[in-house]
Amino acid sequence: GPISRQADNDDALIQSYLKKFYNLTEQTGPHSKGRTNHMSEKIAEMQKFFGLTVTGTVDQETLQVMKKPRCGVPEVAQYT
């Protein structure tokens, strides 16, 4: 069957959310496993902050929190 467009959108949202709020950085090159671990760490960091079950993977509840309207306070370290 066709690939769900929703899944694609969610994937983009997860990446953009983690980049914006958890300083997820792009890791290029052959170390794809490292990238997955890095992303998983960022997801776990977000889940810990919001009191969600820390799994390091995006479940429905984690996705719901990511979709909530929120403040986008810029990274103060980056600014300074």
Partner: protein, 370 residues
Amino acid sequence: TFGEGLKWPKNQLTYRIVNYTPDLSQAEVDSVLGKALQVWARVTPLKFTRISSGDADIMISFGAGSHGDYYPFDGPGGTLAHAFAPSAGIGGDAHFDEDELFTSSSTKGYLLFLVAAHEFGHSLGLSHSSDPGALMYPTYSYRDPNTFVLPRDDVNGIQSLYGPNTDVNPDKPAPPPPVTPDACDPSLVLDAVSTLRGEKIFFKNSFFWRISGSGQAEQHLIKSFWTDAPDNIDAAYENTAQDKLYLIKDQKVWALFGYDLVQGYPKSLSSLGLPTKVKKISAALYDKNTRKTLFFTDNYYYSYDESRKVMDKGYPKLVEQGFPGVTGKITAAFQYNGLTYLYSGNRVFEYSPTSKKVTRVLSNSYLLPC
């Protein structure tokens, strides 16, 4: 806080409203932003003066998409606003996403008061809080701006930077800052407990915990799920046959279907079949096997037959009469996995309707993990 002692080195700060949103009148924006700053001024020695030209410590503006600070907004939803920590130049400035619908009182759109008060927290040196009741929690949730009192976590944060406000009128003490209930508090007495579409939910003050499949308790503001629902409820029950959650407070009942208030609610307590002399309910539960709803008034309870839509005869009865072994006033009640749980303060009686016996006396933390 942001750490590294990031705060303003002075208590007299200036702000300037650089432009306006078309969502509200200019007078409304002026008033709302002034009130949002006062949230912080009330609990600290900080004083805010508005200027209309030149550089202010806190420059306030509305903009959409890229708006000149390398942190572009993202259209409707998502990020609502952002603000910079105290510093010279852009430091302290607050930017609001013009693609959002800002309101001053309606529950549609986002209350500019709440968004601005949150952003000004950043402007003054507060980072995000992980306390879901705090104003500085990163996600937006509606609360009544007319009764808003800065929560304890935010007061602690801002006073750690600037100290308390010493200029308070002793004849007019401020309302105490609300504290987020703690599931680990052994003296916690819940307002109400219910099931909701297979989950367990526990109410306390303006909050509830939900325990879903994973077994972990998540804490939320009641209003973040149900804008129209009351805080500090007396009782709650789920009628699984109707797929509705009923919340009772004083002499009113609210029926909720999903996230929505059922049309025609809130209704009077007597609409549930209770005699008009009943002015307060302390707990309620729906028994899906007998299709009866039990309403507790401390040591007594009424039984309403949902099939026949009448109150059963011979009630109210003493709780001990219907539930041998259960003592004390009932403060919360629900049924789960075929067992009845009756709360009396921080004790929970587990009662088996089949054996008609108390099977265990538990503590709060058995059902609501710390």
